[in-house]
Symmetry: C2
């Protein structure tokens, strides 16, 4: 990509009172220097975003050289100079997460209007911790939480009229992302299950060691399928219950929690005098996009009196789709639900939230301060993990209005349909193997020459293990080579699929959330992978692999 240059300025910037006043003064004229820079940035960003290359090939170490000075510059540089630097050195070596051939992670394209409207948020620089620094943004945030609460829990108008702007409750908590949302939910769960009682002041006040003793538990556990997001064990560490307290429940053939195993774990906990702090269901596992049987999980949570949280960071917006919302049946019974707005609500990075079924449940984590978030105020800062927060709710609000329920439905339906088509393409390929069939818009597959696929079930355990190891090396090498070529990006992960007797397999992982990703692009991505697989640098792996086959297969290949 070539880009236009700003005209050179020969003056040298200096820090003086005038220049400091100037940087804080809003430009009067649309023809001002800053307005020209603004225009220049827009043009170059448009160029970058229209470019459908995923990443310019440049070694990370080389990029690091550019960002290696540790001293803070003594004298100011002009805005134009820093702009040039950012466009040349940062933008040019960024990842085109918006490219339709970037289908590897959950960070996708943004509707372009988000870029324009974000300017309002940045320029106003409101702080949502407190109405005194946000005013209209606080009611707007409460409305957004109400709308998403309604999407999940479908209460009636009276319920929302009562609670939406009620300082005694919160329909949810805004966060910078799904991790903080999950931590917030488990924080609520912990404080709610080890409350104050008589002279005991509660876990929030007296700590976990005293709380377990007072409530008479030997231990504490959180039950979630082994496909649970890593933020849950981060939460367990943070909350002081320890990572080992997360009990990873086995999954069925389709990466969904095994309800019998969950029930068994509940029985074990009860038997061992262990508090079941929470049961977490997943609506869209991060790696395979599967949905736990939430209705059945809800039944078990109810039976054991456990707090029920659903991590719908990815899959929550499936509720927009009349066709697919049934997949999440039972979610309305959860005590709390995480939804990431910077995923399938298509809002810029840094926006997640958790909604609470009971608007008073978050009182378990309430806190106040004299100069801010005083009691009785409508500020949502008293029930958020974070303190000062930007007005990102404005962008969720804009998405809900400009895309609308029917627009989000279309995006969801398109993604799922496209994932099914891509799965069919992989099924039709000789040398690729679908590892997880898409339930939502995520799937995994790997490279595996047909002869090897056919031979695997016949192999003895040690050979099969070695074959899977080699197939993993191949898939990983193809993924890296494709990434480095820069035309497309598919991610990779490590799974232990039922299909392969739980053996360790590295797989390609595909996330289909960009509506501009066409079937043709998907076909091209597969074609490129096929070509890479045939290249010389992978010969050695192929030879080792074929040597494992029961009968001389070399003739069958090429």
């Amino acid at each position: 990509m070539t880009r236009s240059k700003m005209p050179d300025r020969k003056k040298v910037a200096t820090a003086n009172l005038d220049s400091m006043h100037r940087v804080f003064t809003v430009p009067e004229e649309p023809s001002s220097a800053l307005a020209r820079i603004d225009q220049h940035i827009s043009e170059n960003l448009t160029g970058f975003l229209q470019d459908h290359i995923v990443a310019v090939e440049k070694d990370l170490q080389e990029v690091e050289q550019v960002f290696s000075e540790s001293a803070i510059p003594e004298n100011p540089v002009f805005v134009s100079e820093q702009t040039e630097f950012l466009l040349d050195q940062l933008v040019a070596h960024s990842v085109h997460t918006a490219s339709p051939s970037f289908i590897g992670h959950m960070t996708s394209a943004l509707p372009y209007f988000m870029v324009s409207l974000s300017k309002i948020m940045i320029a106003l620089n409101q702080n949502l911790v407190k109405t005194e620094t946000s005013k209209a943004f606080t009611p707007l945030e409460r409305q957004v939480l109400g709308m998403l609460h309604r999407l999940v829990y479908q209460q009636d108008d009276r319920f929302y009229a009562k609670w939406m702007h009620n300082s005694n409750g919160a329909l949810g908590s805004m966060c910078s992302g799904g991790t903080i949302a999950n931590i917030t939910a488990l924080w609520v769960a912990r404080n709610r299950s080890l409350p104050a009682e008589g002279a005991f002041k509660g876990v929030h006040q007296s700590g976990l060691h005293r709380a377990l003793k007072h409530h008479g538990y030997d231990d504490v556990t959180v039950l979630v399928s082994k496909r649970g997001h890593y933020s849950l064990s981060k939460a367990a560490d943070l909350l002081g219950i320890g990572r080992d307290s997360i009990k990873a429940i086995p999954t069925d053939n389709d990466n969904r929690i095994r309800v019998d195993a969950l029930e068994k774990a509940c029985e074990d906990a009860r038997h061992n005098n262990t508090l079941i702090m929470a049961i977490v269901g997943i609506a869209g596992t991060t790696e395979t996009g599967n949905v736990d049987p939430l209705e059945q999980v809800a039944n078990i949570a109810e039976r054991y009196g456990a707090y029920f949280h659903v991590d719908a960071a990815w899959g929550g917006p499936t509720l927009f789709s009349h066709k697919h919302r049934n997949l999440l049946k039972g979610i309305e019974r959860a005590d709390s639900v995480t939804i990431d707005a910077h995923k399938q609500l298509y809002v810029p990075m840094g926006t997640g939230l958790v909604v609470f079924k009971d608007p008073e449940v978050a009182n378990a984590i309430e806190h106040h301060a004299q100069y801010i978030i005083r009691k009785g105020s409508r500020d949502l800062g008293s029930k958020t993990l974070e303190g000062s927060r930007p007005g990102m709710a404005m962008l969720i609000h804009s998405g809900l209005k400009i895309i609308g329920r029917s627009g989000y439905e279309m995006l969801i339906d398109l993604g799922i349909e496209k994932a099914r088509k891509f799965a069919a393409m992989i099924d039709a390929e000789q040398d690729f193997e679908l590892i997880s069939r898409p339930e939502l818009n995520i799937l995994t597959y790997r490279y595996a020459p047909r002869v090897v696929q056919d031979a695997l079930p016949l192999m003895a355990e040690p050979e099969r293990k070695e074959a899977n190891r080699l197939l993993s090396r191949l898939t990983k090498s193809i993924q890296k080579a494709q990434r480095n070529r820069g035309k497309a990006f598919v991610s990779r992960t490590r799974l232990n699929p039922y299909l392969h007797h739980g053996q360790d397999c590295i797989v390609f992982r595909v996330v289909l959330a960009n509506p501009l990703t066409t079937e043709e692009i998907l076909r091209d991505i597969l074609e490129e992978q096929k070509k890479i697989a045939l290249e010389d640098f992978l010969d050695e792996y192929h030879q080792s692999l074929y040597a494992l086959l029961p009968e001389a297969p070399k003739s069958a290949v090429n």
Copy 2:
């Protein structure tokens, strides 16, 4: 403020495949509809920001009416329609945090270039959790952490060459704000002080209840002055040690931690077999802007082998000033230091960070996942509390370059100087009383008629208490009235000043961080408060107050 309107569009938006593709497509032409909206937003924001009114008077309940619909709209609206809505209903009723007469909170004006450069961040939508979704942004973030580490710890070039881009360490952790930064620091402190040992797997793995038992402690405590930020007790709740574990150490006449009391608390902890998990020093208390004697606090932390954290969320940038950096002497001995970038680095809301003296200390909170932040990678996502994160580091980088060390120094020096001048103005006023003299750029004062000020020391305890209560009502009423008039905003808080024998006092709180705030503006703010104090609606409080005076003072007034 009147604003221009977008031309009406009569068409109705519908969600169809075309429209969904369109919202995700980057506009080709600068004359496109979106480009016109962009221009329209810029013009209106300029109008808003140039307007030096703090807030348009409108009742919060009235504003809530506008944001009360809980159903997600079925059909999309045009971007232009939502833009009009936001400008009319949200922008018009927002708080002008950028106004030079908004001196009440730590949310201040932004240098205008931040608005232009933010567009780069939003449009690229990188995710800093992982180099695969950030590339050049990761080295840039590591550089920014290195620069701020150097500002605090002043290590040599060799140190930064070794650590800046080293995947085995982290010079800091980027966060959405100071609260998360403080929580991250205390999380590190907890995990580091209750580590794995022999068969014991550490607090992070096995939980607090087992950790205390294994390491042989009966309890755990965090020591911080009673002026500590509320995020610290939030952290104590979250981390499972309980809010009561925060031991609030008394302060001296100037709101600084009393070192003798801190030492006594350490002795008590040792005597009670209590782990001192961390000692927290404050560099810029939130309410009064005072700085603890960090050198002496460091000595005590060293003597008791405790983790030493400094909360410099507000005061950290004082280190830019050659004249004032000495106030923070000893900060370089802290294990970790919180700095809020959205405060005195003048970066948009949602940016804080913590730097670590020892780049390996954050390994205590390290975590990995297969599809992301794999071991050995340079991603900073393995040592952050948050998961997916935006590229805000880009804006800190731009501030450091465009304002420069010398520019930030000027901003710091200006603010402190202005606070001293404002304090002198208050001292010269008959009917106002300075409550905390500014050490940095924050001060507190209250309304107190001279006769009452003179009589207070002579009053008996119950009368003095009642007088202070009435003075608090007066100060609070004046603050609210001034806020509602919309020309200026000063915040209020509740202190127990030494000056008034620890009695409860509501005070005005002033934060002077906007370089456009002139002495004239400060004088006007005082004048307005004086006028409000004389208004009829406050007569009753005055009468009750004067009735408490030992001698008939009514003649002395008016």
